[in-house]
Every structure is written in structure tokens, then in C-alpha cells.
């Protein structure tokens, strides 16, 4: 399932804000797409300059959509190419490859109440949550931290005038007081946060400090966890090849450049599918999958985000 792919055609392009582009994609032959669940994402192959970028984006469709996949992509100034490819090169009618939807961030069906906190474009998984019958039935609140000017941008995907959707921005009286919000939640609430690393960490820290059970707290990092860094050499022992990992590409991308098919799913250090045995060298771990003890043992690495501390890594690939 991980390697099987889809061929998708761009059927709509809307610039909804200066740095936000919404795309709709349908299957090339018009057949029904595999259905998505709330919170699911799709990994797309995006045409870059001289290379292909593989980026994962959350689907904002209602759960179970078969006719098209909708995504919203923010152009990141420091983009390594994926979001720039969407904003500059991708045209109506273009065909791109993608993988089947996967879901690492589903709503928890036993929750009494869903509390969502989003930072900017991190709202995308929650746009599908708000269209999920189970989430609607059990009760929810969505807190979006965004630029004041972007408050209306997501309106087309939000229930009109929903009193459970709250906007916060960086001005006196409008900032989100995370500890106060968490402290007033009733028992049985599940907490979800999707945004930049600083927001996620602030929410996770506040939840932990207030005694939230870990199983009721869920996070998804928006945007690629940074996968660039100092260049190094990666040796693939089994296949007897070696590759230089550039500063703006990930170890996984370098391995793929060699033509070695490495399994992967989220490309963000969350899912664990790309875990690879590390034979020599010290890793700089950047994933959220390996335990602290795994990382200390230093025998495994997640090549989608993690890199070398030194000049060289030897992988059992």
C-alpha cells in the first residue's frame, strides 16, 4: 500500500491569500479516489527545478470524499522547493503522482469533547475534522492563531458563524492564553494541536504541566520538520553505494536520488515507516518516532528528517 500510487490532475487553482494557494486534484481517468478520513494527508510528488519534491499536505475535504482532494499550501519563504513548486510551477491540468491518503492524526472516537488548536496553515487537518459527523456529535472547539488579516481566508471551509471557532492573533487582548484554555476543559476532552514547532511545544508543555494524560494529547507538526543542515556522506552498505547529502536535502531524498526505493509515509519524522538500521556514525535525531532510549542507543535513524552529527553515516540499506 505504501508504494502504490495515484495519478492526479490539477482541476482547480485558487489563490486565497498572497501566500496561500488552494488546489483541487482529481484522478486522471475520472475514477473515484480512495476515501479520506478526517485528519488524513496525501504525499505528493511536486515538480521542482531539476528534481522532484515529495511533500505531504492535509486533505481539507469532508471525510469520505471520492471525487477530488483539496489542499491548501502556504508558500514558505525558506522553502526547499515544495511549496514554491506549487505556487510557481504547478498549472491547471498538470498531472502529478501521489500516494494513497494516510492518517497519522485522526480524531479520537472516544473523546467526550475535541479541543483543537491550530497555528496558521496548521488549521488544514481541522477543516476536515469540522466536517466529521462524530466530531460534530461529541462537541468541539477550534482555536486558530493566525495573522489578523487571514481571519477570513478559511471561512469557505468553516461552518458559517460557528460559535465554537475562535480566532487569535498577535495583539493585546487577542492572544491565546493556552494554560487558561487547557485548565477549563472538562474531563474526557482530547486535545489536538497542529502548527509550527513553537506553538506545538507550548501546548504540549502546558498540557503536561496541568496533568493531562498523554493519551489525550495529540500533535502534528505543520510544515516539514527541518531536514536540511550540514552536508555529509551516507554509505549504503547493502547496495555498496555512497551519496553526498546536500545541505538543502534530506537523507531520504539523497537515498531516493540514487534510485534506492526506501519505504516512507509521512516524511516528517512521525510515522516510523522509514526507520533504518544505522551501522556507523552518530545521528542527529530530529524525529518524533524513536524513543529517547532508541536515540541513545544510536542504532536506528529516520532518514526523512534526521542527519549526521559527523561527516559520515553507514546505513544498512
Amino acid at each position: 500500500m505504501i508504494s502504490s500510487g495515484l495519478k492526479l490532475k490539477v482541476v482547480a487553482v485558487n489563490d486565497i491569500a498572497p501566500s496561500l494557494r488552494q488546489l483541487s486534484l482529481a484522478s486522471v481517468d475520472g475514477s473515484a479516489l480512495p476515501p479520506n478520513g478526517a485528519g488524513s494527508h496525501v504525499l505528493f510528488n511536486l515538480p521542482g527545478q531539476g528534481r522532484v519534491h515529495r511533500n505531504a499536505y492535509s486533505l481539507i475535504n469532508p471525510p469520505g470524499s471520492r471525487s477530488q482532494y483539496d489542499i491548501i499550501v502556504r508558500r514558505v519563504p525558506t522553502s526547499r522547493g515544495g511549496s514554491a513548486a506549487v505556487h510557481e510551477r504547478l498549472q491547471l491540468g498538470d498531472v502529478i503522482e501521489a500516494q494513497l491518503p494516510a492518517n497519522l492524526f485522526p480524531p479520537q472516537r472516544r473523546a467526550r469533547q475535541h479541543l483543537m488548536i491550530a497555528g496558521g496553515i496548521g488549521i488544514t487537518p481541522f477543516l476536515s475534522y469540522l466536517q466529521d459527523a462524530g466530531v460534530k456529535a461529541s462537541g468541539y472547539a477550534l482555536h486558530l492563531c493566525c495573522r489578523e488579516s487571514e481571519r477570513e481566508v478559511f471561512a469557505p471551509w468553516l461552518p458559517a458563524g460557528d460559535p465554537q471557532v475562535f480566532f487569535h492573533w498577535d495583539a493585546e487582548g487577542h492572544r491565546l492564553d493556552i494554560p487558561a484554555l487547557l485548565a477549563r476543559q472538562p474531563a474526557g476532552t482530547h486535545l489536538y494541536v497542529c502548527g509550527p514547532a513553537e506553538l506545538n511545544q507550548a501546548v504540549l508543555d502546558a498540557a503536561q504541566a496541568q496533568g493531562w494524560p498523554a493519551s489525550q494529547v495529540h500533535s502534528e507538526l505543520f510544515g516539514a520538520a527541518s531536514s536540511g543542515g550540514a552536508p555529509f556522506e551516507a554509505v549504503l552498505k547493502k547496495s555498496g553505494q555512497s551519496v553526498r547529502v546536500g545541505e538543502d536535502e534530506s537523507l531520504l531524498e539523497a537515498i531516493e536520488r540514487l534510485g534506492v526505493a526506501a519505504p516512507c509515509l509521512c516524511r516528517g519524522g512521525a510515522c516510523g515507516v522509514c526507520v533504518t538500521p544505522l551501522l556507523e556514525g552518530e545521528a542527529e535525531h530530529r524525529d518524533h518516532y524513536l524513543s529517547a532510549s532508541d536515540k541513545a542507543q544510536g542504532r536506528l535513524i529516520m532518514p526523512c528528517v534526521s542527519r549526521a552529527r559527523g561527516a559520515r553515516l553507514v546505513l544498512d540499506l
Partner: protein, 194 residues
């Protein structure tokens, strides 16, 4: 009074209760007849770090509970459920810890779930009898204190085979009619948990 582990493999595994230091209010609910001095002393020492935000409730009368602080005595499980409801509003930081016989701890668990506590906010520990509560799959009635491998259902009178299948939803083991296939053909009733 530590009991040997049950040989019923589907039986939940119960670990000793422990407070969570980052959490807020703690309630310790005890099944008095199942507790002994050693268990109470262990609990007193385990829960000392959260003493100022701990309430101890006992159903039935506890022997003087050394070190556990003031204990509120409640008449029955219903009173315990009302007492918990009286703590409204229940928050995510609340923790409920329950120790006693298996039917006791699961009764409290189900009442607390009904009031909105999540499973991750509840800890259960076993003490006392290993006799089982049985849920009849035919009449949906409960039979309490079952020590044997088969039992007459307290609800419908059918002779039930007590399956080694614990239901967390009912807080009980499943009982199915033992001679449904060949009426009258019944295995010998064995005493498992005297």
C-alpha cells in the same frame, strides 16, 4: 493477603495504584472489606506526595487507616457515584484510583466513565476475592460472586459456562448457556476461586 495471579488469561492485569504528581485532584476509593493493614500502609506511603489534594473514600468501614488522613465513609457504590458527581465539574487533570474486588473496581470505573472521566484518568488495582461477576449473554443479567466454572444465572436460571472473556464494557465475564448444543450435556462444575 497478596493473592496469587489468576489463571484466567483474559483477566485485566492490575498494577499497584500510584498518584500522578503533575495531575490535580485525586480520589482514592477503597472497597473496605477487601483491604488489609499492609495494603493500607502501602497506599498511605504511595499517596503521601499528593496528600493535600487527595480525598479518600471507603465503601464499608475501614480499619483505622494509618497515615491515609481523613477517610469519608460511604454506604454503597451508589453513594460513591453520587459523591463523585458532587465533585462537578470534573477536569482533565483529575485522577480516580480504585482498589478492591474486581466487580467493585469495575463498578466504580463504569460509574466514573458515565460521569465523563476518561480511561486514562482512572487507575484500578485488585484486592481481596478473585470471584467473578458474570454477565449472561441471554438475559443480560448479572450473577455476582461466582467461584465456579459454571453457574446458574441469577437472572434467567440457565446454567452458564463462565467464559474466560472479560468485558470492559460490562465489567464482567461472559456467561453462555452451557448445554445449548446438546441439552442436558453439562461438564462437571469446578470450583476455581473459592
Amino acid at each position: 493477603m497478596k493473592l496469587p495471579p489468576s489463571e484466567v488469561t483474559s483477566r485485566p492485569v492490575y498494577l499497584p495504584l500510584a498518584p500522578e504528581l503533575a495531575a490535580g485532584r485525586h480520589w482514592l476509593v477503597l472497597d473496605a472489606p477487601s483491604m488489609d493493614e499492609v495494603l493500607l500502609a502501602e497506599l498511605a506511603s504511595a499517596f503521601a506526595p499528593v496528600a493535600e489534594r487527595l480525598q479518600v473514600w471507603s465503601i464499608g468501614s475501614l480499619q483505622p487507616a494509618m497515615g491515609l488522613g481523613p477517610v469519608t465513609r460511604l454506604a454503597d457504590l451508589k453513594a460513591a457515584a453520587s459523591a463523585l458527581a458532587g465533585q462537578w465539574p470534573l477536569r482533565v487533570s483529575d485522577r480516580l484510583c480504585v482498589q478492591g474486588s474486581e466487580p467493585f473496581v469495575w463498578s466504580v470505573f463504569l460509574a466514573a466513565r458515565e460521569l465523563g472521566l476518561a480511561e486514562s484518568q482512572i487507575q484500578l488495582a485488585h484486592a481481596g476475592s478473585q470471584r467473578r461477576r458474570v454477565w449472561c449473554t441471554h438475559c443480560h443479567g448479572f450473577t455476582e460472586g461466582v467461584s465456579s466454572s459454571t453457574v446458574a444465572c441469577a437472572g434467567c436460571g440457565r446454567e452458564l459456562l463462565v467464559r474466560d472473556h472479560f468485558s470492559r464494557r460490562h465489567g464482567a465475564f461472559m456467561g453462555v448457556m452451557v448445554d445449548a448444543e446438546v441439552p442436558g450435556q453439562r461438564p462437571v462444575r469446578e470450583e476455581l476461586f473459592p
